[in-house]
């Protein structure tokens, strides 16, 4: 059972600071981590490997520093790590990123399971995984909270707002992991040392992949960030006073209708 896990290196903060002039993220002084949902994806793939054998390949697109995320994934137990890095990839949106990842996955060849995290804490789009599945023309199940492989098929419990779905799919399949899927392991010290001092990371550029250059990078990206800003949070609360719930509800209704909200 061979798995590929697509991960992203993100700044370690839920309060992303933004340069108001350029609209870009301020990354200085913010440590980088593996996107949290992606760690669940790695753990999901490692669990399957432990149960059924096979390999786990971890892949990411990014600059040289993204190697640290791949090293951490190898310390957790991934067998192989690939960095997709090329100037031509810079500025890619989700469409372009999925295009590049799809090309890399085609190159890797036969795979049973593709794990992605649900979404990244910096962009929060939740699009790359599903787009990747579309480009590869394979089934996808998002929001996976339980995964098992039975008789050559994958059985997934998919989280839903109004109840969970239990789904089956043929392989290869793309799954996106959520926090509820598992508790990502902490690496063994020996594997940390091995990941940094003994293992190699493969670096693939445009030359290694078959990609239509018009579909990637800033120019090939259909979405562009027009402006980024931090919304100003204004909090004005008022507690409606009244003796009974009915009285309070009546007062609330009066207020809402006077504001023409109902």
């Amino acid at each position: 059972m061979n798995s590929i896990v697509c991960i992203k290196q993100v700044p370690n903060t839920n309060e992303v600071r933004i340069n108001q002039e350029t609209g870009t993220l301020i990354r200085d002084g913010v440590p980088s981590i593996i996107n949290p949902d992606d760690k669940n994806a790695i753990e999901g793939a490692l669990k399957i490997k432990e149960e059924l054998g096979g390999t786990v390949t971890v892949i990411t697109m990014g600059p040289e520093q993204a190697k640290a995320a791949l090293r951490e994934a190898m310390a957790m137990g991934a067998d192989r790590a690939i960095l997709l890095s090329d100037r031509a990839f810079a500025g890619s949106d989700t469409w372009a990123t999925a295009t590049i990842l799809a090309a890399a996955l085609e190159k890797i060849g036969e795979t049973d399971l593709i794990f992605c995290g649900r979404q990244a804490i910096d962009g929060d789009t939740a699009q790359v995984g599903p787009e990747l599945a579309e480009f590869l023309d394979i089934p996808q199940v998002t929001y996976a909270k339980e995964v098992s492989v039975e008789k050559g098929r994958v059985r997934v419990t998919r989280y839903g707002e109004f109840g969970d779905y239990i789904m089956e799919a043929r392989m290869p399949v793309m799954l996106t992991a959520i926090r509820e899927l598992n508790e990502p392991r902490l690496p063994h010290v020996r594997n940390i040392i091995g990941a940094w001092e003994k293992k190699e990371i493969e670096v693939w550029t445009m030359e290694d992949l078959t990609i239509d250059p018009t579909q990637i990078g800033l120019k090939g990206s259909p979405t562009n960030v027009f402006r980024s800003f931090v919304p100003v949070r204004e909090k004005q609360s008022e507690i409606i006073q009244g003796n009974t719930p009915r009285e309070k509800a009546a007062l609330l209704l009066d207020r809402l209708s006077s504001q023409k909200l109902v």
């Binding site: 063994h188 020996r190 040392i193």
Partner: protein, 378 residues
């Protein structure tokens, strides 16, 4: 001159921090109350390769060296001095086997010590042989292919839990210190029993016990090194162990400062947070400066040891300074917390109790001054 940690060392620290938050911090207060040895946590430390640090991979270890030991022990000590002590003390035995043991002993004990979850202890101290380590009375007289061990060891940390212990005894009492030897004793050997379990002020979960040897037959192959090499083995082991105690003290001090910074930002008095009070800020400056000093002295001693250079003086200085720092910092941290610091709802009083032992075990501060002065004056 290079004060940088490698990428792997940074990731080991990150892992140790997450491990501590996940598995150690939630238990620290309870373990302090019950005094129960954190057996499950120890198993987790083995599963994550903490217990195998310093043991080469060929013997099933994690690799790494004394720097990684200091990193992990100090991170654990930030939240639980007792758990840090169990690991730090466990690490002495494999270091002794690695340096002085035979190839058979390495193959037999090191994999079990590394990932195997086996616990080890170091038994030198006796009721009348504390700082005066030369006054050991326990004997191990040869009888065919065995040594017959007789005597009592006291204040042996982790001794009650240990699967294997290195015990120092006189194989030739007529030679005094030159007749001292090191033997591996396994749990359950006939004639070996656990005596009094101590009720301690701090590091309460690290179970400290008395060991009783009553005609305990130890196979001759369990001798570590040669007969008469015991004192050298003990002193070498203690040099290394001092770096471990310095790491514990450093971690306790760092943890106490972290608690203090958090508290000072949250606690409002006179209409403003404590951080607005210059008198308390001066305390923080003193604490942070002493910690910085303790940190680099500890890593410096570890670096010398790894390089194979003499480090007796530096290890003694690091341990003496870090343990004094730990008591200084926990005392001020508790003071800044005021009444809350004195209560068991906050970890400060426990940290101060845990800090105290670092001035005493693996050699008191006073013995360390003797060692340091001897090195300086020679």
């Amino acid at each position: 001159m290079n004060f940088d940690f490698s990428d792997a060392q940074k990731m080991i620290r990150q892992t140790a921090q997450e491990f501590t938050e996940r598995y150690v911090a939630p238990l620290a207060a309870e373990l302090d109350q019950t005094g129960e040895f954190p057996r499950e946590t120890f198993g987790r430390m083995a599963a994550h390769g903490f217990t195998g640090i310093g043991i080469p991979e060929e013997y099933g270890g994690s690799g790494g060296s004394d720097i990684e030991k200091v990193i992990v022990v100090s991170e654990l000590a930030k939240k639980c001095g007792a758990t840090a002590a169990t690991l730090s003390i466990h690490m002495i035995f494999p270091a002794v086997i690695l340096k002085f043991g035979s190839e058979e002993q390495k193959k037999k004990y090191l994999p079990a010590m590394a990932d195997g979850g086996k616990i080890s202890a170091f038994a030198l101290t006796e009721p009348n042989a504390g700082s005066d380590a030369a006054a050991v009375k326990t004997t191990a007289l040869k009888d065919g292919d065995h040594y017959i061990l007789n005597g009592t060891k006291c204040f042996i940390t982790g001794g009650g839990q240990a699967d294997h212990l290195v015990v120092f005894a006189l194989t030739d009492p007529s030679k005094g210190l030159k007749g001292l030897s090191a033997l591996v004793v396994d749990k359950g050997m006939p004639g070996f029993s656990i005596g009094k379990i101590e009720d301690k002020m701090g590091i309460r979960a690290s179970e400290t016990v008395e060991l009783i040897f009553d005609n305990c037959r130890v196979p001759a192959e369990n001798l570590v090194g040669k007969e008469g090499a015991g004192f050298k083995i003990a002193m070498t082991a203690l040099d290394g162990a001092r770096i471990g105690v310095a790491a514990q003290a450093l971690g306790i001090a760092e943890g106490a400062l972290e608690e203090t910074v958090k508290y000072m930002k949250e606690r409002v008095q006179f209409g403003k947070p404590l951080t607005a009070l210059q008198g308390l800020n001066w305390y923080v400056a003193e604490m942070a400066t002493k910690i910085e000093c303790a940190r680099w002295m500890t890593y410096r001693a570890a670096t010398l040891k790894i390089k194979g250079e003499p480090y007796t003086k530096e290890a003694a200085m690091a341990k003496y300074n870090a343990s004094e720092t730990a008591l200084f910092v926990t005392n001020l941290a508790l003071q800044i917390h005021g009444g809350y610091g004195y209560m068991k709802d906050y970890p400060l009083e426990r940290m101060m109790r845990d800090a105290k032992i670092t001035q005493i075990y693996e050699g008191t501060s006073e013995i360390h001054k003797v060692v340091i002065a001897r090195e300086v004056l020679k």
